[in-house]
Symmetry: C2
Subunit: 684 residues, 2 copies
């Protein structure tokens, strides 16, 4: 296809190009990421609405076609686009299966439609007679492009228009005959059609890319015996606990052999004590590397068994892929050319300032042997896909060469379009966005550090409405093994509950690191640190008897919140997120809604969260009539899905009070009453 | 160059491309119009600031180069870009002469700079010793790329770093030596440099494209004798009048022979009376077509004389180019194939609904002979350029094929980069923007129909800050021969004065149609019509003795406003436009400022206009401390350039009163006092 930059930046002569005769203009096709350099993201089975800004000189009528194809098909399918207003045309197509698609737009000045359009406003009898003759010629042209009965019908129509010597109004009616126009429309003259010069790429993922609920645990901490190293078999015992909380992704830190050289001790100590198990991210030892399993966890067969049992409970296992090596990783010896050796024969350990990873060597992505290195890294994904893994969380992708990710993810998804990638990049905004553009299905966010009403409102408005909405899918985490954010240190159970509700209702994908979260672990390694004391990153932890919930465990509450997410499609995507004003800065209010029908009507969820974990807060919430299609005077039911209480609200302004000792939030389902339906229509 | 869409939308195999080894990422280069499909507009001789969003994986240091070249040069010049914040890099280049330019960006991971950067934070002595050896290797590599003294110097430096067995701090100082680093920097390793895949086009125009003041008149109405047909010689007599008012462009409706067939009578009548002169836009008759002059106006030599005399007074003549033909235009007979003939042997006259141009045939841009037609149309511009014309106002460009404009303007400006084009397209926003993208230097706007504070604020914010700011240069007109907008019908002299001030201070380019404007012609053809009664479009007008100004003529006021524009560079561009709140909806306040130095300091103009032509209005104006770099407590002088009054204002909130019977506006020059300078610095 021609390209934006090659289109006449510098004409080399004075002869116009053949395509300059095309009068239809396609000024823009949306959505598009960087003018088609990267793929727009979509969900398989869901219609994708495409906009094209099209017009032509003067007053002729256009026809505009959306063209689309799956990657494997050479020919485009067509959908006629319809003019809305302001020269904006729309049509949808549905990428049925996960995979890569391309779309573009074609438009042409349609002389037949222009003739009909002009004829409708003709009143002068002589004008109508001339117009009938003009139309007869156009219809004859269409007949030449047609076959069989269409051809016969069109020729007859043209003949009638020419021969009718009669009354002008009857002639006009004959010329405007809708059934015959439909026949002519099937045979347009597309010789001078304009084609948008770019085939825009789109990646359709399965639904979990849009709606997912993640639970992270360390398999080595799952033994029921204190001090025992947990195994995949132990994890199997914990699966019902995780599934019953309503999670659908169970994610493990790296499960590979752990290096012994430079192994870290407890609490990130530079020296070990006997029995220290080291960091799972210091990958590789005598027993193997990225394609192997730490023997203490079990065998590859045990792992496959776990994947399968998890699947039976609706849980997908997500693996952490961290492309780095402990000094005793087998590849350090086998492929010294993949590392950057210094003149003293050492390798500079990895850093992510201020963090130092003395137990880790980074790969040198610029090595002369880079192609072999890249193939090897990609084959790590292939290996685990072969074991049944379909979701990967990638560790610090922003410290590996960016072009690698585009190459690897594109190649992997081509063979395995169901595979999803989560980018663990807590870094600068443009870097995070680039990773999403390169192919990451989901991205970690700054949610962990956004606490106030203003911060949350600005950030989630940007995430749901900003330019990233076409390619950056947020996955928000109230905690991770690396981040016990400072506001969790105090505030007790209420702060854990309110941050959970925020994550679960603001974002259609969220995750938490447990059982630290539901068991309210809030002890930092030192005052003000984001590191956990006695972090599982460096040692085994025993979490007691998870299954019999402690009285203060959040497990039941999490299960309720996740059940609400499953039952309410509004909470399963982010596009519709809207914030509402409250007169109390500790109260944040927002809605999500969907056009999708549930068993009992369309779905509209209004969440109101008390951001203060210490005190009851009350205030007036003012809803937006237009956003919610509410009449300012209507009565409607709000059903708190957390407490199961029902209230009748009236109008746009209502009072709420939330006591953190009882509940951090209202998660209301809003139901409009039948007698008010007409009001809503007026607002629609 | 590679293109956005061709960059791996569908990898055909599993081998990474050679360019994937390039670790530097250039995520965006700005400004860019449609990803480089169209040119950004700039002014010759003025620096153009380019932004590139660049980063790499990990913590290595980048070097980023802005590349640019004039169209005629094959090789790029380079300017080093500097990192500001948020991964945004900046540099400027100055297109010295009008013409087309291209720019792009290259970036690479610089191992030498990365080494230095890392070394600065090393404290461990062993680390420093290893780092010195690493650096010595990098410096040796640089030496291999260098020659002569640079090579010698670098080799010596590397040797010292290797041989120094001494104290670590001295070694670190030697390694960080700034003078030697400067030498190494001249010889970077650019083997793995990333090049942005698009060469972005830029069109540099001369200054008049940014700052111009237009006066439109009908040459045929310039005779000093009532009822006499005016001529170019008569126009010559009027030149001092126009020049003294401070205009720099004098623009004429078409000056060609006027068709006799279907000629329009006075007030757009379909039949003529004896002596009716017809519409100048009904181009072509026995005497010639688009390259000829209406004999009553004079000869081609007279025209050239007029162009020359105007130039002596600082006035450029702009011609109206209207690509359409009266039925008796010579080309209708000579090239019937350039028109769309209907089966009855007629051509449908031109329309721009609801307007009908019964005296005009449109060209058929789709004709099989289109290339010859296009060449002929382009040659019309060439013809008038040869007569000394350098500015064209193009009539209804949106009713001619869009690709024609891109081809014609690009080709013409290639030979004559000084030529400017103004698009007279009063139509839908996307259509107007497309014409600007295709190459029009300036564009008519909706100003004529924007009256309220809210309308003006929204529209001029969009014009100066919206996406069009890189390519759409507004030219605003309070009236045109086609538009006596309804709000001018009443309000007398004050409405004419206030609309003039708005046009002249909101937009760096504006124009008016005179002497109708300064002589306050406000009589519509019918109630509520935008057409003038007895419009010059269809008849001669006699404007009395222009030179001796009527007591109510706005000529003196216009002269003063235009003098203020010339003396104040702030009013000569639009980028800095900012609106301020007032507590009275009839008072609009806005500023423009520039970094350019005038004889007496930097230039900051604050305009406050009373939008009510009938009543005095008063209120409080609240300035923006940040936008104006004012301290909330500072004292400063405001000098009203219209009245020459000076006031001392304090702080951000000040009171104004404006009586339309005296003046419609304050046009303040703001001068910060010396003693406050430190305050401003703090705000800067």
């Amino acid at each position: 296809m021609a390209t934006p930059s090659s289109k006449r930046p510098a004409p080399t002569d004075l002869i116009p190009n053949e395509e300059d005769r095309q009068r239809a203009v396609i000024d823009a096709v949306l959505p598009a990421v960087d003018a088609g350099r990267f793929a727009v993201k979509a969900i398989a089975g869901e219609p994708m609405r495409i906009q094209a800004n099209c017009f032509t000189d003067g007053h002729d009528v256009l026809r505009v076609m959306l063209l689309w194809r799956p990657e494997a098909q050479a020919t485009m399918q067509e959908v006629e686009m319809a003019l809305d207003s302001n020269d904006e045309w729309f049509a949808s197509f549905t990428p049925e299966a996960p995979g890569r698609y391309f779309y573009s737009v074609a438009a042409w000045v349609d002389h037949f439609e222009s003739w009909r359009h002009e004829l409708t406003r003709r009143v002068d009898e002589e004008d109508i007679r001339i117009a009938a003759l003009v139309g007869a010629d156009l219809i004859d042209d269409a007949a030449k492009r047609a076959k069989a009965t269409d051809q016969t019908e069109l020729m007859a129509w043209a003949r009638q228009l020419r021969q009718s010597g009669g009354e002008a109004q009857a002639l006009k009616a004959l010329a405007l005959d809708e059934a015959r126009a439909a026949v002519a429309r099937r045979h347009p003259d597309r010789q001078l059609a304009t084609q948008f010069p770019i085939e825009l790429p789109l990646v359709a993922d399965r639904e979990r890319a849009r709606f997912s609920t993640w639970y992270e645990l360390f398999p080595r901490s799952t033994s029921s015996e204190p001090g025992q190293h947990g195994s995949f078999k132990d994890v199997e015992q914990r699966l019902p606990y995780v599934a019953e909380m309503g999670f659908d992704v169970l994610y493990f830190p790296p499960i590979h052999p752990i290096g012994r050289e430079k192994r870290k001790g407890r609490n990130n100590a530079l020296t070990t004590e006997p029995g220290d198990v080291g960091s799972p991210w210091a990958i590789g030892a005598l027993e193997g590397g990225h394609k192997d399993v730490l023997p203490e966890l079990g065998t590859m067969e045990d792992f496959r068994s776990l994947v399968s049992k998890a699947k039976d409970l609706g849980l997908e296992i997500a693996l952490d892929i961290a492309f780095q090596c402990a000094p005793d990783h087998p590849e350090v010896k086998a492929h010294p050319e993949w590392f950057r050796w210094r003149p003293d024969g050492t390798v500079q350990y990895a850093e992510n300032p201020p963090k130092k990873y003395q137990d880790i060597y980074p790969f040198n992505f610029e090595t002369y042997d880079w192609r072999a290195l890249w193939q090897e890294l990609k084959s790590v994904f292939d290996h685990w896909i072969a074991q049944g893994v379909t979701i990967f969380r990638v560790d610090n992708p922003h410290t590996k060469a960016f072009p690698f990710w585009e190459w690897a993810i594109t190649a992997i998804k081509r063979e395995h379009p169901e595979v999803l990638f989560l980018a663990e990049a807590f870094t600068r905004p443009k870097v995070m966005h680039r990773l999403a553009k390169l192919g990451y299905s989901q991205s970690y966010t700054y949610f962990t550090w956004r606490h106030t009403k203003q911060e949350l409102t600005e950030y989630f408005t940007e995430l749901s409405q900003g330019p990233g909405k076409d390619y950056f899918r947020p996955n928000v985490w109230p905690n991770t093994p690396d981040i016990l954010s400072e506001h969790l240190h105090a505030g007790g159970r209420p702060i854990f509950a309110l941050r959970l509700v925020l994550a679960a209702t603001l974002s259609s994908s969220y995750g938490l690191y447990g059982p630290a979260y539901e068991l309210l672990d809030n002890v930092p390694r030192s005052n003000g640190s984001e590191e956990y004391l006695n972090s599982e990153k460096y040692q085994l932890r025993h979490w007691g008897d998870w299954d019999v919930a402690r009285p203060d465990s959040l497990a039941q509450f999490i299960a309720k919140v996740n059940a609400i997410r499953r039952a309410n499609p509004a909470l399963q995507s982010n596009d519709s997120l809207r914030f509402f004003s409250t007169d109390n800065d500790q109260l944040i209010a927002y809605s999500k809604q969907t056009d999708k029908q549930t068993a009992d009507g369309d779905n509209l969820i209004l969440s109101i969260v008390n951001l203060d974990p210490h005190n009851p807060q009350s205030g007036w919430v003012t809803l937006d009539a237009e956003a919610l299609k509410l009449s300012p005077t209507s009565h409607y039911e709000v059903h708190d899905l957390l407490s199961d209480q029902r209230f009748t609200w009236q109008g746009l302004r209502n009072f709420v009070i939330l006591d953190p000792r009882q509940t951090p939030a209202h998660v209301f389902r809003l139901r409009k009453r039948v007698q008010d339906e007409r009001h809503f229509d007026n607002f629609a």
